[in-house]
Point group: C2
DNA sequence: GCTCTTTTTGCATACGCATGCAAAAATTTT
DNA sequence: AAAATTTTTGCATGCGTATGCAAAAAGAGC
């Protein structure tokens, strides 16, 4: 077994020899005449490593088990298990023996077996519908890191409208200990299905009163109000709104707060269109709103992702200047909003805070084995940039 | 057991009552006076669902097993297993009985147990260092979808430089059947570590000659050449380069191809700086290159992500016009490159093709149980937009 | 030294499922 | 109708680990 491994490694070394620079030069030269090459030949000759039942010389090598370690360390399998279980009762002496043997064999506990026996998979499912709105990749990254730090892993599930049921089945088959549904447009019956099984579900950036699932949102209503006030105080008179997906709670709340905010200043919305939270929809909505005469002089686009599209249409197609002719504000404060090409005034919903709330809700419910509906609302903050005319006195 | 569930559900319904509109209005009103509220009280009273060892009335309810289904259907456990194993030998009659019982109990096969016994976890690890460069979220999304379609799931691992070893341990503990390392800056010894265990590893967007891991890249050398030619033919005379991470293969190849391309037209690079594939590094590099007199009239930035930052500095801080004063080209063709605020001329490395290659390499090696180094190179295509002066005759 | 308490250890079992094997049932052939 | 063949079924076992339990070992106190 050890010998086998050595052979394998020597093979790798043999074929991999040659320093980087030379290899690179070769590759450059090789491509000088033939510009494109699909599935190009590997620079180094392929290295074959046959595994599996070659039955030559007896046992197939496979990952060492706790039993193997036990045998080598001359202790029981339980001792090995306890060595790798924090808080279990092992003497320092046997622990050392076990660790030594484990190192020698390259032993790693099998997380799946552990999950089975202990009923704790340490897996959290993350359901996402799309990752092109930059808000979600960032959430995914932060959530994944936070959970990793707590000893959990993220199992990723991409959903498509229509196929969501099957995805939920898969999630449950994998015995995940919690579910984060991060998409504004996921069917809420899914959350109920999950909750039926007793695993905690967090609707991320979404709130459904009738659902048993917990939720984490920013204060979308307040965010909408802040934007309304900002635009009104900026002296705008024809203020429009471009909605996201109309059946999403984020859109409803942002819109409700926005309208409320307008009303508080004695105004109403000048025009409204629906962008569906996607790029093309937003562009179409912008064309619709701004090609009539009496066009709006300001527009709140329900999220940043759409706002970029709207700004492209306004400047590129309709020759309008931002913010001189039209003010544009968005929602989310994704990184691109700070890029100078857009410099978008927007509402920051702190992904950091939202992640922390999510993790804390999940872990609490997992550990206490109590699924309790919680709704965390993190504050919204107005981020003023240059895409909208500012109030005089601020 | 069934009764319990009913109770739980009724509780949910009771608290969740009230149509959306009313709830919304309430929430709006509730916030009129107190603008911000952290961890706000949930709109609906919390719903408690106690699970677990209440020991009242005997058994705890837990997920039904194949044994439970077998008992109800009056067949053996094997029959249940075979019903859920495609291609196994079951008569239509018993299959029906089993399915009926399964439906009745809400049975779902336990993927972890299945993985243990069959040795096939159907889990693929995806290692990523960061998701702020939009190229990677897109890859993650597409890869995840593609694998899902093949019956696999993606287990996500975020790595930080320094903590990578621990992450690899975790990956291996979860018995993943394959690993995709999607980051230009991952230590290559990790790939070797994985390969030692006999599971296929694909370096995504990275190539390491000395590593046993397979790789999928775009033709970075050719891409660099194409850009060089494009800039030269565009009449630029002082062409600069801003590198990414210097130890990454993407940067080396892009740079090598670019220099080669310049050389083919009798030119050499005018200036060079290092941006490290991150936003701030790129900005600093731009300031460095463009604040001396005799500033470049064109710059190739090693990826789009950095290019956006460079463009912001050029236009925002240095008051240069693009492309009139400076031409900028990037690499990757991330979605933002098409946004009108940047409209970046770049090289498209087709994530679609790269994903397909990745999946095909992985699945082939998983199924045949043979780990063989393969290096797929997908073609690079020049995408001409407006951020760089174009050649006269094209 | 001996008893009493605390810690350590190994045994045995269970987690939920897949699968080889042989018996049973169904089907085909003679 | 009996024999030969094919299909279906159940039994038993094992995947790799965690853990309750009782036996063994190690300390503590006298």
């Amino acid at each position: 077994m050890k010998v086998d491994l050595q052979i394998v490694r020597r093979e790798f070394c043999d074929t991999g020899i040659g320093n980087w620079g030379q290899t690179l030069a070769e590759r450059v030269r090789a491509r000088e005449r033939e510009p494109f090459r699909n599935e190009g030949t590997p620079t180094a000759p392929p290295v074959d490593v046959r595994l599996e039942n070659s039955d030559i010389g007896g046992m197939n090598k496979s990952a060492p088990t706790s039993g193997d370690v036990a045998k080598l360390a001359k202790v029981s399998q339980s001792a090995v298990s306890r060595t790798f279980t924090p808080g279990a009762s092992v003497s320092a002496e046997t622990r050392e023996k076990v660790l030594k043997a484990a190192r020698e064999l390259g032993y790693r506990p099998n997380a799946l077996a552990r999950a089975m026996i202990s009923g704790r998979s340490r897996l959290i499912a993350m359901m996402v519908a799309y990752l092109d709105n930059q808000f979600y990749p960032i959430v995914l990254e932060k959530l994944s890191r936070a959970l990793q730090d707590q000893g959990y892993q993220v199992l990723l599930f991409m959903t498509e409208t229509g196929k969501q049921d099957r995805v939920v089945q898969r999630i449950l088959e994998y015995q995940v200990e919690g579910v984060v549904m991060a998409s504004a447009t996921l069917s809420s019956t899914l959350a109920r299905e999950c909750a039926k099984t007793g695993i905690p579900v967090v609707l991320f950036n979404r709130y459904v009163p009738s659902s048993p699932a917990s939720s984490v949102t920013s204060d979308n209503i307040e965010g909408g109000r802040l934007l309304a006030r900002f635009l009104v105080e900026g002296g705008h008179e024809r203020i429009a709104f471009i909605a996201g997906a109309e059946d999403s709670s984020t859109n409803r709340d942002r819109e409700a707060g926005f309208f409320k905010g307008l009303a508080e200043h004695g105004m109403t919305v000048w025009a409204r269109a629906v962008g569906g939270y996607n790029f093309e929809g937003a562009a179409a909505a912008a064309r619709e709103l701004f090609s009539r005469k009496d066009r709006p002089d300001a527009v709140f686009v329900a999220n940043d992702h759409m706002a970029f599209s709207v700004m492209d249409v306004l400047r590129g197609e309709l020759d309008l200047r931002i913010p001189e002719d039209v003010s544009v504000v968005g929602y989310d404060d994704v990184p691109e909003a700070a890029w100078k090409g857009y410099d978008l005034t927007t509402i920051s919903q702190s992904s950091q805070n939202m992640i922390e709330a999510t993790v804390s809700i999940l872990l609490e419910q997992i550990e206490k084995r109590v699924v309790k509906k919680r709704a965390a609302v993190v504050p919204s903050e107005l981020i003023v940039r240059s895409s909208a005319r500012k109030p005089k006195n601020s």
